[in-house]
Symmetry: C2
């Protein structure tokens, strides 16, 4: 008999949140890398920079002045991709030239008054304030908008153009592609199996223990069985929670703790301030608040771009863009590799 | 009345090949860029480098020696993501942990014996040889494999680790996500409208003329109405053609000509050897050769990463990964901008 050794033989894995497959070809890590290397993240970021438009008291590109904030700070994006008043494009008769109105708001949220901290370097109560503000924005914007996307682009490698710790919140009058797909997949799983997909998944992963990165009584972070990015993780509560607004005080504290632990592991992995894009997905809002959304489970996706080291990215290019996503090591190899690094302070900037 | 000015107001456009929407927020080009800048592509590439594993006569990582080829040259990828003999992973009972066998072959194809040329700098008859070899590989591998993906990653920015002009061909025992989705969309359009989607689309674009980049009696390259990457193009024949193997001798010559013109425009745009990932999509092969695939139309997608200049990429990150793709200028702005650059030789390396 010829048995599958997942670290030597390629295979496909099913992503039930997107109804797609990923090609897992772990033996590809053996190839030498002669391609592009990245600049490591900036190490010496001043705590306050008079020229940085995100610092307290500074003036932004459009002349507006930030308050002297000492916690989180939210303001309207000065170059919003979504504005509340865009007109309707009208409709072309032809089915191949279809457009629709897009309306919304884009906000920026600074996590902390200091530029030289990141979430894992902030104090517990400071991270709880970030979570409370996230919930506050979903509450406020979700009162009318069907989708409120909270996301953080961290690091220049992920298109972030300012080192000050911040995230963005884009609310739209439409359900974007990704949440629409996730909604469809979770709904049909629930109809078939009578339990929210991701609640069942969290329980399974907690039992199997193969892909867990960090866990606590209320939360779990795993490298999902179907991860596409090498160090991708999925962070989710164990209890059935529809939206970030539904988290209890204890769950918010637990979330602050597990986020700090997860992000400390990320930073320790290659001993740099780890780049990623992350964001929250929860049940849709606005008109959907009145609907039954029992199939939904709140979760955050973390998508870090690195593959081999602080300086070598995974390139999701030709085959991945045109055919199918492909990964070069198994999710199980990754969770094992990140485990030994929980030791906090192995990598830490002074705060 | 408040009218839509597509270069000032965001709106959504429908991609009928993927059944998704793209957010077009043209006013975002106004924001200043303080983020990551890329290294421009290497300018001085030696025609022959004794250390380059893709040059004629050289030895590769696994000890194999390239022939002294003087045209195209095909060999097996030394670190293939797909191998013909991978065992079946067997099946987990649980619906959230599904895997499948993946088998296939990965080939590399050098376009030319010289490292210092690219397709637009090659002679017409040399490009025709590349096209003939593409068709030959689809014929050969498509005899058994349901999908043969031809793709080119060009430039270090697109994860290409060798400047020698080459592409890759990955054939698989499964229909990957992207072609499966495209197949579904083209099929249902054909059922509804009685004409292949992309044949109708080519005719419409040729009449509307707003997004055409280059055209010839047999071929058309447009910035699609639903383009996500800033300078994305779609290259397609006007006649109904299912697969690259079906192209006539004249159509192959016409293709060589239009590819050279399109890629010359790309190179001229920022006066660098333009980076991109490109690839061909045609009707599925192997067991699908016997089926009716009239809904398919052969086409190539070009996905260049740049946005503002030779050194500033479009980052498809947070919002794009978690919610929906977003572009910062309209497709119409791009096709107008690339038009004046057809003048060949404005940018050209000596050959
Ligand atoms: O096969 P190459 O050129 O070494 O590798 C490149 O193309 C592959 C297929 O798109 C990607 O999986 C790799 O991430 C990329 O670096
Ligand atoms: O809004 P920012 O941080 O200026 O811009 C960044 O995030 C956006 C949302 O993911 C992307 O569209 C941009 O390409 C990226 O550079």
């Amino acid at each position: 008999v010829f048995c599958l050794n997942p670290s030597d033989h390629q295979h496909l894995r099913y992503n039930p949140l997107r109804d797609t497959w990923v090609l897992v070809s772990a033996h590809r890590m053996k190839r030498p890398w002669a391609g592009q290397v990245e600049k490591p993240p900036e190490e010496h970021i001043p705590r306050y920079d008079p020229g940085n438009p995100l610092c307290p008291g500074n003036t932004r590109a459009n002349g507006k002045v930030n308050s002297h904030y000492d916690s989180t700070y939210v303001f309207e994006n000065d170059f919003p991709a979504l504005q509340p008043d865009a007109p309707d494009p009208g409709s072309d008769q032809h089915p191949l030239f279809q457009s629709k109105a897009a309306r919304g708001v884009c906000k920026v949220m600074c996590f902390h008054p200091w530029s030289d901290v990141t979430l894992p370097l902030m104090k517990m109560h400071e991270v709880v304030k970030v979570i409370d503000k996230w919930a506050g924005l979903v509450e406020e914007l979700g009162a009318t908008y069907p989708w409120v996307q909270i996301f953080e682009n961290k690091g220049a490698m992920m298109g972030c153009s300012n080192p000050h710790p911040h995230c963005q919140v884009w609310a739209s009058n439409f359900l974007p592609n990704e949440p629409a797909l996730s909604d469809r997949c979770q709904r049909s799983y629930y109809q078939k199996h009578g339990e929210p997909m991701l609640q069942q998944y969290a329980r399974q992963e907690a039992e199997r223990k193969e892909r867990v990165v960090v866990e606590s009584p209320d939360w779990l972070a795993v490298v999902p069985y179907w991860a596409t990015w090498p160090y991708q993780t999925l962070l989710l509560p164990r209890r059935h929670v529809l939206r970030i607004t539904d988290l209890t005080t204890e769950e918010r504290e637990g979330l602050a703790d597990i986020m700090r632990r997860l992000l400390t592991k990320y930073d320790n992995l290659f001993e740099i301030s780890f780049p990623y894009s992350m964001g929250w997905h929860g049940a849709p809002t606005g008109p959907h608040l009145k609907e039954d959304n029992s199939h939904w489970q709140l979760h955050a996706h973390y998508y870090p771009p690195l593959l081999r080291s602080a300086m070598v990215k995974k390139f999701m290019v030709g085959y991945e863009m045109l055919a199918q996503e492909q990964r070069d090591l198994t999710p199980e190899q990754v969770s094992a590799e990140t485990y030994p690094c929980e030791n906090p302070g192995l990598y830490s900037r002074e705060t």
